[in-house]
C-alpha cells in the first residue's frame, strides 16, 4: 500500500496538481515516523506508511500558504480537516487528500515493542476519512479486529467521583502543567493569530504556573475546542507533563453528543457548535 501512496504522490507532483506532498518518513531512531515534506519527485521514496505514523499532518497545512498540497491523511486527521474547512481555514481546492483507511496506530510509549493500538484508536469505528480525493485501504492482514470498547470509559469513571475527588485529581494533574503550550502548538485547530493566553488587554487569565492559572488555561483550551476537537490525541501525546488532556476533550465530546446530538468534523457544511442552537436544547440546569 505504500506503493499506492508513492504512485499517487508521484503523479500529483508530476502533473503539478500539487506543489508539495506531506506524508511520513522514518525518524532518525529508525523506528518512529516524522512528517515528510516532499516537493521533488526524487524524494518520494522517503515516504513510508506504518503504525508509527501518528502525527496529525493537517497541522502543517497552514504552513504553506498559497500552495497546493497533497496530504496523507488518516481517518481521524481528515476530520480535523473537515473542521478547518468548516471554519474557513482551508480551501478544499488547495488540498488533495490521500485518504488512508487506517487500521490503527501504535501506542508511542511502547516504541520498539509490538504493534498495539493506541488508546485513542479503541472505539474509533469509521476509520474511513469523511473526506478524501483518493482512498487507500490498509492491507487485509493488518485489519485486526477493532475492540468494541466504550470510548468514554475513563470519562465515565471520573464522572462518578465526588466533587472533592475530582478537584483533587485535576489539581494534581494540572500541578505538573508548565504552561509550555505544546498542547496548543500541536493542535491543528488552535490556529488563532494571537491566543487569548498571550493577550494583555485584557489579561484573560493568569500566565503564571498556578492552580487557577493552570485550571483557567485548560478550561479555556477545552472550551475553545468544544464541538471542534476530533480526538486526534495530539495534545496529550505532545504534553511533556503527561496530563490526560484527552479525558477533558472526550468529556466535552460526550456531553455535546448527549445534549445536542452534535459531533465534530463529520460535515463541512455543519454550523459550529456554539454558533448554532436548537430551540429545544436542554435547560434543566437553568433556574
Amino acid at each position: 500500500m505504500i506503493d499506492q501512496i508513492k504512485t499517487k504522490a508521484k503523479e500529483l507532483l508530476k502533473t503539478k496538481k500539487v506543489d508539495i506532498v506531506i506524508g511520513y518518513k522514518k525518524a532518525s531512531d529508525r523506528i518512529g515516523a516524522i512528517p515528510a515534506f516532499i516537493d521533488k519527485e526524487g524524494d518520494i521514496d522517503k515516504l513510508i506508511w506504518d503504525g508509527y505514523c501518528v502525527y496529525n499532518l493537517s497541522n502543517y497545512l497552514k504552513d504553506f500558504p498559497g500552495k497546493k498540497i497533497g496530504i496523507v491523511t488518516k481517518g481521524c486527521d481528515a476530520k480535523s480537516m473537515t473542521v478547518l474547512l468548516q471554519e474557513n481555514q482551508l480551501k478544499r481546492e488547495d488540498i488533495f487528500i490521500i485518504g488512508i483507511e487506517c487500521s490503527g496506530i501504535v501506542d508511542e510509549k511502547r516504541k520498539g515493542g509490538d504493534i498495539a493500538y493506541d488508546e485513542r484508536c479503541k472505539g474509533c469505528k469509521p476509520a474511513t476519512p469523511p473526506i478524501y480525493d483518493v482512498l487507500i485501504k490498509e492491507e487485509e492482514k493488518k485489519q485486526a479486529p477493532r475492540l468494541e470498547q466504550d470510548p468514554y470509559e475513563s470519562v465515565r469513571k471520573l464522572e462518578t467521583k465526588s466533587i472533592e475527588e475530582k478537584f483533587k485529581f485535576w489539581q494534581d494533574e494540572f500541578s505538573r502543567c508548565i504552561r509550555c503550550y505544546a498542547c496548543r502548538q500541536i493542535c491543528p485547530l488552535c490556529y488563532c493569530p494571537r491566543c487569548v493566553a498571550e493577550q494583555t488587554q485584557p489579561a484573560w487569565f493568569s500566565k503564571a504556573v498556578s492552580v487557577e492559572g493552570n485550571f483557567s488555561w485548560n478550561v479555556n483550551r477545552a472550551m475553545h475546542l468544544a464541538g471542534r476537537c476530533i480526538d486526534c490525541g495530539e495534545c496529550e501525546r505532545a504534553c511533556p507533563a503527561g496530563i490526560p488532556l484527552r479525558d477533558i476533550n472526550k468529556k466535552i465530546e460526550k456531553d455535546v453528543k448527549e445534549l445536542f446530538s452534535y459531533e465534530a468534523g463529520v460535515d463541512t457544511e455543519q454550523k459550529p457548535l456554539f454558533s448554532s442552537f436548537d430551540k429545544n436544547d436542554p435547560e434543566d440546569f437553568i433556574k
Binding site: P65, E87, Q89, Y191, V196, Q199, F274, S276
Partner: protein, 654 residues
C-alpha cells in the same frame, strides 16, 4: 485621567438606607478619582449643574453617577456631560437605588455594597472610550411584499407622501383576500365597492410600481440599504401590449377550477382571476394550457389583435434597492380536514367561510345563490360552526382568530337576506365582538335576522338522507342537539402563509411557533420588527380584520416614511467591531449573529504576505447584542460600551 463621582441621595430613597456621604468619601479615594460629591437630587437641574460645574472646575474627563437604574437616567446624564464638553459615552452609572437601598435594610451592609457598586462603575468608566454615533444613507424607496388590502393601503400612504413604493404580489392581480369577500362587517358595504377604487388608485399612482405574478427571491442589506431580488414569473402575456379586451380567455377551450372562486367556479387556462383584476392583464396557467401541454391550440395567440401573447416568455429576475420593507403577506385558512368529527373534510356540503363569501357574492360563481355544492339545490337550514381550528390546542391553533365571530354573524345575516325562508344556526364557544359597532351587529343578527346561536361544540357531523346531521351540545340548556342541515359553513381559523418561515428567514425577522411574524414589542412596537427597517402589517403578524389591517398598514407606512424623510440615519455606537489583525477568519461570529450583521472581508496580511479572509461588522445592521464576542475564541471581536476590557476590569475590582 480625572474621574468625577457624583452620589445621589434621591431624597431619602437612597440616603434613607445608604450613608451617601460615606460613599462619596470612599469614592474620592478610588484610583484616578479626582473629585466626588453628593447631592439631594442629582437628576434635577441644580444637580446636573453641579456635575457640569465640577467638570469645568476640576477638569474631569470621565463621570460616574451613583444613583438610580441606568434605564431611568442614563440618557439624562449623557446629555448633561455632553453639554459640559465630555463625550457622552464616558459616563457610567452605579445603581445604588433599585439594586441597593431599596432592597436592603441593614444600613452598614447597604452602604458597603453601595461603595462597591460605585467602585465597579469607576473601574468600568476608566476603560470607557469616547464613541461617536454612526450614520448611513437611505435609499428612498419602500418595498411592500403583498398586494392585499394591507399592501395596497401602505402603497397609497407612501405614495401620498411622494415617495416611491413597489408592490410585489405573487398572484396575477392585487386585491388579496378582500377581493373575494362579498360584504364587510359591521356596516355591510360591499368589499369590491371599497376595495376596487383603492386598487385603481394604486395602479394609476405615478409613485407606485406593481410587480404582480412575482415573488421575492433574495433579500440582503440592512435598514436604508436593502437589496432585493424579485422574480417576475413568466406571465406569457406582454403586460405593455395587452389591452385587457378579454378575447383570449373568452375563446380559450380549457376550463379548470378557479382558485379565486375556491373551486366553486371555473376559469380558463388563460385568465384574469376576477373581472376587476389589476392589472387587467391575463396570465397563462402553463400547467393546464393546451399549447404548453401538447404544442397544439394556440387560439389565444391567433385571436389577440395586439400580439400580446408570448409563449416564449421566461421568468425574469430583477434587482432593486430599498430603504425600508413593509411585509403584508396576509394569511391562509386553517385546514379543517384534521377533524374526524367533521368528517375529515370529505362532506361535499360542508364549506368554509371563504367559500360562502364567493357563493353569496352576486358576481360569484353561483350568481349570489346559496346552494349545496353536492346537488346545486338552494339551501334552507344552514349550520355555522365557529372556532374551527381556533382555540383548540389539541388539533388546531392555540389562539383566537379574532374575526370568525364577526364574519359568521355577517354570513348568518346575508343568508337570511338572500333567502327569507332560511334558518341559520350558529355553534360558538364565546362571542368575541370587541370592536366599534361589533356587539351591536351580532345582537342585530340574533334579534332581527333570527339566527339561532347555540353555545357549544359540535361532536359529530354525518350524512343521512341527503342532509348533513349536525350533532352538538347546547351547553346553556344542557341539551343534545341534532340539526338536519342543507349546508354546513365552517369558520376556519386564520393561519400563517405556508411559506412564511422561509420569507422570515430571508428577511431575518423572527416568527413564532405558529409561523406568524413577530413584532418588536407587542404593545409599544406592534408594526416594527427587531430588524430595523422592516415593518409588519395585517394578518401576517396576527389575525386581523379589515379595520385593523388598514390601521396597521398606515402605521407601518408612517414608520417607513419616518425613515424616508431622514437625510442620514444615526445609529447608537454601542455595536461590535473587529480587530482584523487578531481575526482568524473562522467566521464563528458570522454564523452566530442573529442579525446577519457580520460579513466577510479581505485584508492583506503583512506577516503572511498574502490576502486572507476576516470578519467585518456591518455597522448599520449590528444591534449590539454581543453574541459574536462570546463565540470568538481569539477575542478579535468586541462590543463597544461593554468591551472585554471594561468587563474584565469590573471583575478585577471585585
Amino acid at each position: 485621567m480625572k474621574i468625577g463621582v457624583f452620589v445621589c441621595h434621591c431624597g431619602t430613597n437612597i440616603a434613607g438606607t445608604v450613608d451617601v456621604e460615606r460613599v462619596s468619601q470612599a469614592a474620592s479615594k478610588f484610583p484616578k478619582v479626582k473629585h466626588s460629591a453628593s447631592y439631594k437630587y442629582m437628576c434635577s437641574n441644580p444637580g446636573q449643574n453641579l456635575v457640569k460645574d465640577a467638570i469645568k472646575k476640576h477638569k474631569l474627563d470621565r463621570i460616574v453617577i451613583a444613583s438610580c437604574s441606568p434605564s431611568l437616567h442614563e440618557k439624562t446624564f449623557r446629555k448633561c456631560v455632553e453639554a459640559a464638553g465630555i463625550n457622552p459615552y464616558l459616563i457610567e452609572m452605579a445603581n445604588i437605588r433599585e439594586h441597593c437601598s431599596w432592597v436592603h435594610k441593614d444600613r452598614e451592609k447597604a452602604t458597603q455594597k453601595a461603595i462597591e457598586l460605585t467602585r465597579l462603575a469607576v473601574s468600568k468608566v476608566s476603560r470607557n472610550k469616547p464613541l461617536e454615533k454612526t450614520y448611513t444613507t437611505i435609499e428612498k424607496k419602500v418595498l411592500i411584499i403583498g398586494g392585499g388590502i394591507s399592501g395596497i393601503q401602505a402603497a397609497i400612504d407612501i405614495a401620498f407622501a411622494n415617495y416611491p413604493a413597489v408592490i410585489v404580489e405573487r398572484e396575477p392581480s392585487i386585491g388579496g383576500r378582500m377581493a373575494r369577500f362579498d360584504k364587510t362587517f359591521p356596516t355591510l358595504d360591499c368589499a369590491a365597492c371599497i376595495l376596487t377604487p383603492k386598487m385603481v388608485t394604486v395602479s394609476q399612482s405615478e409613485h407606485v410600481t406593481m410587480h404582480t405574478y412575482s415573488e421575492i427571491e433574495e433579500v440582503s442589506g440592512f435598514v436604508g440599504n436593502f437589496t432585493v431580488k424579485i422574480r417576475k414569473k413568466a406571465r406569457s402575456v406582454d403586460i405593455n401590449k395587452c389591452t385587457g379586451c378579454g378575447a383570449c380567455y373568452n375563446k380559450c377551450p380549457v376550463k379548470v377550477p378557479s382558485e379565486f372562486d375556491m373551486g366553486l367556479g371555473k376559469r380558463k387556462a388563460i385568465y384574469t382571476p376576477f373581472p376587476q383584476a389589476v392589472p387587467n392583464v391575463p396570465v397563462i396557467d402553463r400547467e393546464n394550457c393546451l399549447y404548453f401541454k401538447t404544442k397544439k391550440c394556440g387560439i389565444c395567440k391567433k385571436i389577440c389583435t395586439v400580439g400580446a401573447i408570448d409563449y416564449d416568455m421566461k421568468d425574469e429576475v430583477i434587482e432593486e434597492k430599498f430603504g425600508a420593507i413593509i411585509v403584508a403577506t396576509g394569511f391562509n385558512q386553517f385546514d379543517h380536514s384534521v377533524y374526524g368529527e367533521y368528517g375529515y373534510g370529505k362532506h361535499k356540503d360542508m364549506i368554509t367561510g371563504l367559500h360562502f363569501e364567493r357563493m353569496v357574492n352576486s358576481s360569484g360563481p353561483t350568481g349570489g345563490k346559496i346552494i349545496r355544492p353536492s346537488d346545486g339545490k338552494e339551501v334552507r337550514d344552514v349550520v355555522f360552526i365557529q372556532c374551527v381550528g381556533s382555540r383548540d390546542e389539541q388539533k388546531g391553533l392555540p389562539y383566537c382568530s379574532r374575526l370568525c365571530c364577526m364574519y359568521t354573524a355577517k354570513h348568518a345575516l346575508l343568508l337570511r337576506e338572500h333567502n327569507k325562508d332560511s334558518q341559520a344556526y350558529v355553534f360558538y364557544i364565546d362571542i368575541r365582538a370587541a370592536g366599534k359597532n361589533y356587539e351591536e351587529f351580532v345582537k342585530k343578527v340574533q334579534d332581527e335576522y333570527g339566527a339561532i346561536y347555540l353555545r357549544g361544540r359540535v361532536s359529530r357531523i354525518f350524512e343521512k338522507g341527503g342532509k348533513l346531521i349536525v350533532r352538538g351540545a347546547d351547553t346553556l340548556s344542557g341539551a343534545q342537539i341534532e340539526i338536519k342541515a342543507d349546508l354546513v359553513v365552517l369558520a376556519t381559523g386564520l393561519v400563517a402563509q405556508k411559506d412564511a418561515p422561509s420569507l422570515a428567514q430571508m428577511l431575518h425577522i423572527p416568527y413564532d411557533k405558529n409561523n406568524l411574524f413577530t413584532e418588536a414589542h407587542p404593545k409599544l412596537a406592534p408594526v416594527e420588527t427587531i430588524t430595523s427597517g422592516i415593518f409588519l402589517t395585517g394578518a401576517c403578524q396576527s389575525p386581523k380584520d379589515i379595520p385593523d389591517t388598514v390601521a396597521t398598514a398606515s402605521a407601518a407606512s408612517v414608520k417607513a416614511l419616518g425613515l424616508m424623510v431622514q437625510d442620514k440615519l444615526a445609529r447608537e455606537p454601542l455595536i461590535a467591531s473587529v480587530n482584523q489583525d487578531l481575526c482568524s477568519g473562522c467566521l464563528a461570529c458570522l454564523k452566530a449573529c442573529p442579525f446577519s450583521a457580520i460579513e466577510e472581508d479581505e485584508i492583506e496580511d503583512r506577516k503572511l504576505r498574502r490576502k486572507r479572509t476576516v470578519a467585518k461588522v456591518r455597522e448599520a445592521v449590528c444591534t449590539g447584542c454581543g453574541n459574536c464576542t462570546a463565540v470568538c475564541r481569539m477575542a478579535a471581536i468586541d462590543l463597544e460600551g461593554f468591551t472585554n476590557t471594561q468587563i474584565m476590569e469590573e471583575v478585577e475590582t471585585l
